[in-house]
């Protein structure tokens, strides 16, 4: 079933034309990845879906409803949660407060307790550090906190922006295992990555983005074996 449909999306930063008519689809239950070089428009796509940016033209349909133009807080409420690039946790708040803010729109005491326990089960290290200021966490722990915080709103669609950025290879593997697990438990994921190899290893399908345009699309297996992708992104 189609969960998210982006059609002919055009986004500008001032005079810069960042997205030039992007069209993509995400089906329920999938992991779809957007790969591409720096500046291709991957993060811009996610920011436009989550309502941080407004498109000049084009439509974003989620669950059969047009959502472009809605404020970010209304989009979170509909079940789309965005883990932004660079994690963007609140460094001067405790780990616990960060998680609570993730459930800002779902504040019933029982529901929140349950969500927090689920996050702690998935990320035991956050339980140990719940009273610590989030800024004192290591990079990997901060990424876990960012993902945990996004899961607090019980999203149907999770937008992940560069979860592997700045992490040691062993942590990257751990984060990707968690992404796979989150997906297997029923959350649809749109994943933006520069680490194309890693992204295609967990994704079902992918889109290749180049300077604001989608140049290639296919199943993860097709993209991995594509000569163009190999040459450009897989170091082969």
């Amino acid at each position: 079933m189609l969960l998210l449909k982006v059609e002919n999306l055009n986004v500008y930063y001032g005079a810069i034309h960042a997205l030039k008519g992007i069209t993509l689809e995400v089906n329920e239950g999938e992991i779809v990845t957007l790969i591409g070089a720096n500046g291709a428009g991957k993060s811009t796509t996610l920011k436009t879906i989550s309502g941080l940016l407004r498109p000049q033209s084009g439509t974003i349909t989620y669950n059969g409803e047009v959502i472009n133009g809605l404020p970010a807080q209304a989009i979170v409420k509909k079940g789309i949660s965005h883990v932004p690039e660079g994690r963007r946790i609140f460094p001067n708040l405790t780990v616990m407060e960060n998680l609570e803010l993730g459930a800002y729109l779902h504040r019933s005491r029982e529901g929140m307790k349950k969500s927090i326990q689920e996050v702690f089960r998935r990320f035991p290290r956050l339980r140990e550090r719940q009273k610590q200021m989030a800024g004192t966490l290591s990079g990997g722990e901060q990424q876990m906190l960012a993902i945990g915080r996004a899961l607090m709103s019980r999203p149907k669609l999770l937008l992940l922006d560069e979860p592997s950025m700045g992490l040691a290879p062993i942590l990257v593997q751990e984060i990707f295992n968690i992404i796979k697990e989150i997906n297997e438990q029923g959350t649809t994921i749109l994943l933006v990555e520069q680490n194309a190899n890693m992204a295609l290893s967990v994704a079902h399908r992918g889109y290749v983005l180049e300077t604001g345009r989608i140049t290639l699309t296919g199943s993860a297996a097709e993209l991995i074996s594509s000569e163009d992708v190999k040459k450009a992104y897989l170091g082969g």
Binding site: S50, G51, L52, P71, A72, Q73, V76, K77, S81, H82, P84, G86, R88, I89, F90, P91, N92, L93, E97, E100, L101, G102, Y104, L105, R107, G135, G139, Q142, R149, A150, S153, G166
Partner: protein, 297 residues
């Protein structure tokens, strides 16, 4: 020694008024990085609302506080919506100049509507008596007004700490002040949160305005200028954007100022305060409680 302790008592009561005003500056700065130069004038409006509540509506001082807080909050929210919100993505200097313009508008609007008359709260608005105090065998005096000022300030600060640390509104305020876009991704309504911050800061200013009116026994349309500037200095001393910094800076400045007048000359009081501002900006621009946060990558 008795003289010194007496100055401390006087300084703490003046300082607590500065602290109340400084809290508003620092909260607004924390959330939108704007020095709201109209803050002192909101204080003036609060003092007048309190005055009219006492004189014309014949209400007691506690109701006057509540009505003044409500009125000033509304004014603060309107100012933000009308004057600052349209400039939120403009260069910061544009908003700063607008704040100065808003300040001049309130001052001159006040002069136009209220005239240049100096008014004062009627005698008996609060009972003001000298109270003898004894501290380690040293005889001191404090007035009931001084104690009232201190008590009101402490209660307001406790309420603020509670709001900021234990309520959803407070969590939203902190989230917005650290990272506006990340806060939006949590589902926080940033515009609403900024409005609440202005409302809170303005309510604090209104309380300070009434207390100042009682303390100096005068209110007039330009009464907010000097205390506003002093409280701005206090907020910078403590570390602009930091709530504990505003409290510390307010008390510290009040005591310091009283000492300068008491031991040197009251003519030197204001120049020394502004020299202090310059020194802080040169030597410790982040303020006494501020530190330079390094970003983790």
């Amino acid at each position: 020694m008795a003289g010194f302790l007496q100055q401390v008592i006087n300084g703490l009561s003046l300082g607590s008024i500065y602290a109340l005003i400084a809290l508003g500056y620092t909260m607004v700065y924390g959330i939108i990085q704007l020095i709201n130069f109209a803050h002192g004038d909101i204080l003036m409006v609060g003092a007048y609302i309190g005055f009219f509540a006492v004189v014309y509506l014949k209400l007691n001082i506690w109701w006057a506080f509540i009505i003044a807080m409500a009125g000033a909050s509304l004014l603060g929210v309107i100012i933000e919506r009308v004057a600052y919100k349209p400039l939120r993505n403009a260069p910061r200097l544009a908003a700063l100049i607008t704040a100065i313009g808003m300040s001049l508008l309130l001052e001159n609007g006040g002069l136009m509507i209220l005239g240049t008359d100096i008014r004062s709260y009627p005698v008996g608005t609060i009972t003001n008596k000298q109270l003898p105090l004894s501290f380690l065998g040293i005889q001191l005096t404090a007035t009931t007004l001084q104690l009232l000022i201190l008590a009101v300030t402490v209660v307001m600060m406790i309420i603020l700490q509670y709001i900021v640390h234990y309520t959803w509104t407070g969590k939203a305020m902190r989230a917005v002040s650290y990272d506006r876009d990340a806060a939006r991704l949590m589902g926080i309504n940033v515009d609403e949160t900024i409005s609440v911050t202005f409302a809170l800061g303005s309510a604090f200013a209104a309380v300070a305005g009434i207390l100042l009116g009682l303390y100096y026994n005068t209110i007039q349309p330009l009464m907010g200028i000097m205390p506003g500037l002093k409280a701005f200095v206090a907020a910078v001393i403590g570390g602009i954007g930091l709530i504990p910094g505003a409290m510390l800076g307010g008390f510290a400045l009040g005591v310091f100022e009283t000492m300068v007048s008491g031991y040197w000359s009251s003519k030197m009081r204001d120049p020394i305060v502004f020299i202090l501002l310059i020194l802080i900006l040169l030597l410790k621009p982040a303020g006494l409680l501020g530190r330079n946060n390094t970003e983790k990558v």
